[in-house]
C-alpha cells in the first residue's frame, strides 16, 4: 500500500446547480476506478470539504465511465449569483478534491 494524492490517479471537473456543487471524479486508468470507489466515500468527501460545504454529500457511481459523481449541498454560500466567493460557481472544487490523500 502507498499513499498518494488523488491527482496522481484521477482527474475531475466541477460546476454548480443552485447552492449545490457537483464534482465528477474520473480514474486516469480504468484499473484505478475500484480504488476511487473504495477510498473516496461520501463521508470522506464531506470531511474533506468541511470548511466549504455546510450540507450533506451524495455519491453516485458511473462504472461505465470509470467515474464517481459527488453532489455537495449548501456548498456555494447561497449559489452562483448570491455567493461572495471568488469561486462562486465551485469551478475549482474539482482540483480541491484532487488534494485528498488515498491508499492505493
Amino acid at each position: 500500500m502507498a499513499r498518494v494524492k488523488l491527482r496522481e490517479i484521477a482527474h475531475a471537473r466541477s460546476g454548480d446547480k443552485g447552492d449545490c456543487t457537483n464534482i465528477g471524479l474520473i480514474a486516469l486508468r480504468p484499473e484505478d476506478y475500484p480504488v476511487l470507489v473504495r477510498e473516496v466515500t461520501a463521508e470522506r468527501v464531506k470531511e474533506h470539504f468541511r470548511e466549504l460545504c455546510q450540507g450533506r454529500v451524495e455519491r453516485f457511481e458511473l462504472p461505465n465511465l470509470g467515474a464517481l459523481n459527488f453532489l455537495l449541498y449548501e456548498a456555494l454560500d447561497g449559489g452562483g449569483t448570491v455567493s461572495l466567493r471568488t469561486d462562486a460557481q465551485g469551478k475549482t472544487f474539482s482540483a480541491a478534491l484532487l488534494r485528498m490523500v488515498v491508499e492505493v
Binding site: 482527474h11 475531475a12 471537473r13 466541477s14 460546476g15 454548480d16 446547480k17 443552485g18 447552492d19 449545490c20 457537483n22 465528477g24 471524479l25 474520473i26 486516469l28 474533506h48 468541511r50 470548511e51 466549504l52 453516485f60 457511481e61 458511473l62 462504472p63 461505465n64 465511465l65 470509470g66 467515474a67 459523481n69 453532489l71 454560500d77 447561497g78 449559489g79 452562483g80 449569483t81 448570491v82 461572495l84 466567493r85 471568488t86 469561486d87 475549482t92 474539482s94 482540483a95 480541491a96 488534494r99
Partner: protein, 453 residues
C-alpha cells in the same frame, strides 16, 4: 449523418467561434447557447426599460457577419438567443439578413410560450404553487420580488419549426440540450417515445452545450500538451439516425478531442447520473459507452432512456438584496499577515459605523480564495503578494454602498506595502437569486411561428 456544430457555451463566449464553425469545414447545423440562469433576469430588466430589448444582441450581429455562409451553404442555425423577447430577436435577425443583402432568402422560426411571468398570479390562484424544488418553500414568500419566470421547453418545438421550413430558429428558454436534439428529431423523424434515441441525443447535446469544454478547453489531463489552445476548435456532433454519435472538430483547428476530455464534460453539472431529467426524456448516463475512434474523434453509443415526466422545470429569478466586493493588494514581506490585519481593521470600522450585513466574506487571493484555509494550508511569509478581497451582502443598499467607501482609505491608514486597483470604489450590485420549481406540462403551450425573412 448530420453535423451539428456548437459555437457558444454561454453569453460571453467567443465572438469568433460561430464564424470559424461556419468557415472551417462542412456543417449542417450551428447551435448557440446564450442563456445562463442569470441571463434571463438581466434580459427581463432590459425588456422592462425597452420593449425592443430583452434578447441576446450578439446573435443578430453574428448572423449578419455569417450571412453569406449560412445562406449560400444552407446551414441551419438554432439559438436560444430570444431571451425574454424571441419575437423581436427574430425581427432583428431578419433585419440583419437584409443588411447583409439576403432579404427574403430564408425563413425564420420563433419558439415562444416559455415565459410565464405574466401568468404567475393566475397559476398560483389555481393552486399551482411553484414551490422551491430545493427548499420546499411556497413562491408566495418571494412573489413581490420575482424578476423573471421561464419554463424550460423541450426539443420538439424546435423540430416543428425546422419541419415548417425555418432555416434559423430562435427560442426563449429551453433545455440547453434541445438546441441540438431538435435538429436530430427533425432530420431523423425520431418520435416522442423513442426514449433511447432521445436519450442519446440528450447525451450528445450535453457534451457540446459548453462549447470548447468538449474539445480540450478546461481539460485537466495533460493540459500543457494540448495543441494550439489559441485556435481551439469548437465541438461538432456527428449524429446517426440510429442514435450513434461522434464528437469531433474541424480539421486544422487547435485543441484535442479525447475520451478523457469528453468524460470530464459528461460528468459536468449533472446530478443523479441514472436520471438526467430533460423535458423530452430521462437519460441514463450510466449506460453511455465511449471510445476513441481516431484522432480528435470520440464516439458513444448504447444510451438508454426512460419516459419523460409530466412536469416542466421552471426557472424563476428574484431580487435578494445587494452585494459588493472590494480588494487591496499587500506585498512582501509578511503579505498575508498584513492583509489579515487590514481585514480586522476594516471589520472593526464597519462595526463602529453600525453597518449590518447578512454576510461578510474575506478571502486572500493567492493564499486561500479557491480552496479555503483548511485545504490550502498556511501561506509562506515570503509569498510575493496577496490580495485581500472582502465582500458584503445585505438587504440595505445604503449599508452596502457605505461599505464600498471603507476599502480605499486602507491605502493610507492601515498596514504597509499596499496597493489597490485603479477604477475607483467597488460597485454595488443587486443580488438575483434563483427559485427552481416545477409546473404541469398541461399548463404550458409552446408556440411556433415561421416567417419569411
Amino acid at each position: 449523418m448530420i453535423r451539428i456544430a456548437n459555437a457558444q457555451g454561454f453569453w460571453g463566449d467567443s465572438l469568433e467561434a460561430p464564424l470559424e464553425q461556419l468557415r472551417g469545414g462542412p456543417i449542417d447545423y450551428l447551435t448557440l447557447d446564450y442563456l445562463a440562469e442569470v441571463t434571463m433576469s438581466i434580459l427581463q430588466k432590459q425588456f422592462a426599460r425597452d420593449p425592443q430589448a430583452g434578447y441576446a444582441r450578439d446573435f443578430p450581429q453574428m448572423i449578419e457577419r455569417g450571412a453569406k455562409e449560412i445562406v449560400e451553404r444552407g446551414v441551419k442555425v438554432v439559438a436560444n438567443a430570444g431571451g425574454v423577447n424571441p419575437e423581436t430577436c427574430g425581427e432583428a435577425v431578419a433585419a440583419a439578413l437584409g443588411r447583409a443583402g439576403y432579404k427574403g432568402r430564408l425563413k425564420i422560426g420563433v419558439v415562444t410560450g416559455d415565459n410565464i411571468l405574466g401568468r404567475l398570479d393566475d397559476l398560483m390562484a389555481r393552486g399551482i404553487e411553484l414551490r422551491n424544488m430545493d427548499t420546499g418553500a411556497a413562491l408566495e414568500s418571494i412573489r413581490a420580488r420575482v424578476r423573471s419566470a421561464n419554463v424550460y421547453l423541450g426539443a420538439f418545438p424546435i423540430a416543428e419549426a425546422l419541419g415548417a421550413g425555418a432555416q434559423i430558429v430562435v427560442t426563449g428558454r429551453c433545455s440547453d440540450v434541445a438546441l441540438s436534439l431538435g435538429p436530430t428529431i427533425h432530420e431523423f423523424g425520431w418520435k416522442r417515445d423513442d426514449w433511447d434515441l432521445l436519450a442519446a441525443g440528450v447525451v450528445g447535446g450535453h457534451v457540446v452545450e459548453c462549447g470548447a469544454q468538449a474539445t480540450g478547453g478546461n481539460c485537466q489531463v495533460d493540459w500543457e500538451t494540448i495543441p494550439d489552445l489559441a485556435g481551439i476548435g469548437y465541438p461538432i456532433l456527428e449524429a446517426e439516425p440510429d442514435g450513434r454519435f461522434a464528437i469531433t472538430k474541424h480539421l486544422g483547428t487547435g485543441g484535442r478531442v479525447t475520451v478523457a476530455g469528453v468524460t470530464e464534460q459528461l460528468v459536468y453539472e449533472i446530478g443523479d447520473p441514472r436520471a438526467y431529467i430533460t423535458p423530452d426524456v430521462i437519460a441514463d448516463f450510466t449506460t453511455i459507452q465511449l471510445s476513441q475512434a481516431g484522432k480528435d474523434r470520440v464516439q458513444f453509443w448504447g444510451v438508454k432512456g426512460r419516459p419523460a415526466t409530466e412536469l416542466y422545470k421552471v426557472s424563476i429569478s428574484y431580487s435578494a438584496g445587494f452585494k459588493a466586493a472590494g480588494t487591496m493588494t499587500y506585498g512582501w514581506p509578511d503579505a498575508v499577515k498584513k492583509a489579515r490585519a487590514a481585514d480586522g481593521i476594516l471589520r472593526t470600522r464597519l462595526e463602529r459605523l453600525g453597518l449590518r450585513f447578512s454576510a461578510i466574506h474575506s478571502e486572500y487571493v493567492g493564499a486561500n480564495a479557491c480552496h479555503g484555509d483548511l485545504l490550502s494550508g498556511e501561506a509562506s511569509p515570503d509569498i510575493a503578494e496577496v490580495t485581500l478581497r472582502v465582500g458584503v451582502r445585505g438587504d440595505d443598499a445604503g449599508a452596502v454602498e457605505r461599505f464600498t467607501r471603507e476599502i480605499a482609505p486602507l491605502a493610507l491608514n492601515g498596514p504597509p506595502v499596499v496597493t489597490y486597483p485603479s477604477g475607483g470604489k467597488p460597485k454595488v450590485e443587486e443580488v438575483v437569486a434563483y427559485w427552481p420549481a416545477l409546473i404541469p406540462k398541461s399548463e404550458v403551450a409552446a408556440r411556433v411561428t415561421v416567417k419569411e425573412s
